[in-house]
């Protein structure tokens, strides 16, 4: 039985407008919170819900909120991270396009709890048309008295602004996002200090993902305890999964955490199985940064137990045999997929997106891409495979921000599980060359 909290009314015509959203019970949570709850009460409910950050890291949201420096005399800020750019992930886009008011409502609740009077939505630049959708929803909410001064007579003031990025994956990292929101290059900051102490304009700041903040709406409506009953173990509630690749029904699905992966992949309610006449070869379960798994290790963990779509079950076995739920960007690949090619395109992505601040990431991502390109086009050597593992190992853990890890993991995991394919590209180089049209022995990546 699937619970729909975020996508409950997603197919109701006009749900993106205030009137329809309101008629479906919208902004009830704001009324409840601002009239009957203190800011701390709201945080308490979020804590009780067990909600974990939906952007990828899975950090408990209530705990993150509790770190915010409330003693500071500076203003406090909430920033909504709508810089969704993790390959395979398009759930926030879907939610903002289809049901913007649930996000605005979540933002009002969260801002109230955190004491933010100016809240910013930082949305990736490519989602140009969604800026208009959000600004319209904000104007409607303001018109209805849910934004502005002294909201519902509570004394709480709030304005929400939308600020667009301009093409930089790195701005999904919270301190890079803050820099970008300040009108600067998206270079992640050196931590400490953490944003909870010194973030936007050096003021205490919380940065949360779109889905995380939207989820605060149903949490306040139903209560944290009720929300925590959904899901499994520490993976409470529901999660949006964006599914793509070689499946019959790509799209965004809301699942109860703990749904068996088999059901998610094969049921017609979700992915609808692998495209006709093909079989599953590998899965990237939570956005391109998480380790790729071969089909058998994805369906069942090393102990042979069926895997579930939950933080714990997917990471069972560590990186040796497991992966991560990450952002919920689910990429399924059938047997026609060349893992070397796929790994190269992902390495190209991280190379392109490295901010270039710290040396391991700046130099290492480019190096990996170039070596992978050689292998992909039949110019590689056997020792290149171990070289890649070593470069990945030298990047991982040694960079300013997690982009280094995110670049290293997919390469290391692909070689861990599909080494034979990399070797094939060396042992059958001429065959590979024939099948690849591009032929660039001295590869330079495209310039900006």
């Amino acid at each position: 039985m699937a619970t729909k909290l975020l996508l409950e009314h997603i197919n109701v015509p006009g749900i993106e407008t205030y009137d329809v959203y309101r008629s479906k019970g919208g902004y009830r949570a704001v009324e409840k919170a601002l009239k009957t709850m203190s800011p701390d009460d709201v945080m308490e409910e979020v804590k009780k819900s067990g909600l974990r950050g939906r952007g990828g890291a899975g950090f408990p949201t209530g705990m993150k909120w509790s770190f915010l420096d409330r003693k500071s005399s500076n203003p406090r800020y909430l920033v909504c991270n709508a810089d969704e750019s993790e390959p395979g992930t398009f759930k926030d886009r879907y939610l903002m396009e289809k049901n913007p008011h649930i996000l605005i409502e979540g933002l009002i609740l969260s801002s109230y709890s955190l004491g933010s009077n100016s809240t910013y939505i930082y949305i990736r630049g490519e989602y140009k048309w969604i800026v208009g959708i959000l600004e319209k929803a904000i104007a409607e909410a303001k018109n209805a008295g849910f934004l502005g001064k002294n909201i519902l007579g509570s004394g709480f003031n709030l304005e929400i602004y939308v600020n667009n990025g301009a093409g930089a994956y790195i701005c999904g990292e919270e301190t890079a996002l803050i820099e970008s929101l300040e009108g600067k290059r998206g270079n992640p900051r050196i931590k400490p200090p953490f944003p909870a102490i010194s973030g936007l304009y050096n003021c205490p700041t919380v940065v949360n993902n779109v889905e995380t903040l939207a989820t605060v709406t149903p949490i306040i409506n139903m209560g944290g305890d009720e929300y925590a009953k959904l899901g499994i173990g520490k993976s409470t509630g529901t999660k949006l999964i964006s599914a793509c690749g070689h499946i019959n029904r790509p799209g965004v699905y809301e699942i109860d955490l703990g749904l068996p992966v088999d059901e998610f992949l094969n049921s017609d309610e979700y992915c609808g199985g692998i495209r006709k006449g093909h079989e599953l070869k590998a899965v990237i379960a939570g956005g391109s940064s998480v380790p790729i798994l071969p089909a058998e290790l994805f369906m069942k963990n090393a102990a042979g137990e069926a895997r579930l779509m939950s933080y714990e079950s997917l990471s069972d076995g560590g990186f040796a045999t497991g992966t991560m739920l990450g952002s919920g960007g689910f990429i399924a690949m059938d047997e026609t997929t060349c893992i070397v090619h796929n790994t190269w395109t992902l390495a190209r992505f991280y190379h392109h997106e490295s901010c270039g601040q710290c040396s391991p990431c700046r130099e290492g991502t480019g190096w990996m891409e170039k070596v992978l390109h050689r292998l992909e086009f039949g110019h590689g050597h056997m020792h290149d495979i171990d070289l890649l593992v070593e470069i990945a190992g030298k990047i991982e853990g040694n960079t300013i921000c997690p982009l280094g890890d995110a670049a290293a993991w997919p390469v290391a995991a692909a070689i861990r599980h599909f080494r034979d394919e990399f070797e094939y590209h060396v042992t059958h180089a001429s065959k590979v060359k024939d099948s690849r049209k591009a032929h660039l022995p001295n590869y330079k990546t495209a310039t900006v």
Partner: protein
Amino acid sequence: MSQLFKITIDGETTEVAPGTTILNAARQIGGSLVPPAMCYYSKLKGSGGKCRTCLVEVSQGSEKDPRPMPKLVASCSTPIMDGMVVKNLTSPKVLEARKGVVEFLLINHPLDCPVCDQAGECHLQDLSYEHGAARSRYEEERRKFDRIDIGDKIQLHMTRCILCYRCVFTADQITDKRVHGIMFRGDKAEISTYIENVIDNDFSGNVIDVCPVGALTDKTFRFKSRVWFVKPMEAHRDCPKCSGKTVAWLSGDEVYRITGRKDKYGELEEWICNDCRFEHKKISDWVIDGPRAIERHSVISLNKYEKGIKVETPKKIGYGNTR
């Protein structure tokens, strides 16, 4: 005042003020346990954290919370805690990571030391000597840029740059109208003025001194001599713009170049003005105070002075050795 924090680095314990970074605590202890720093510069606000050569292992977070830190941390930007235990040279993990960082820094470096004016006083050279491998595993084409002049006295050789950002912070600090910065991103990032522009400021020459490699060099000294063939002498003059305290690099009675005075970590003691640096190249312009004991670079210091000048010969090349 608040009480001091106890910190142990490679088995040596000291007490430092709260808020001190691990690197600066190590510098207070001194010796070979001081981590190398290619981007951090104590006099430049905002510098540090980028090059990752100063990574260390924190094997005990603090007295109160003795758990180790899960990842290596940049010692230049991590504040100490009371009772923290840090491993630098005693950590195989650190040495391995540092070797990796050196390899990364070198893959796109031209390794043109034979024709580089910085050779002999290049921090990247020292770092590679100490932590690098003998051969590069990098087979791909290296990044290349054209040399550009930023003003008639300073040359930018971007190909050698390791993107430490020091020159940018310097410009931020000495002027409110910075004209050069970091363009583009990733491994395509470069120091540039974007449009043809001259760094025109009385103190702009200091970017040469803060550059850890040969990316920014003094055109008035270009190809004139190897640094180890000239003698560094402490010199001063009455200067209306700066302290006038410099190092004059002499060959006989000829002034080959003027630089600021650097401490044992290669950092300038004071900014000097362009007038002193570029316009006073006659021995009569200066009062020579005596030989400058160059504390950091053996190749310059060795066999240069008569007996009686205190120049220690280190047992081992480290970053905190007094030479």
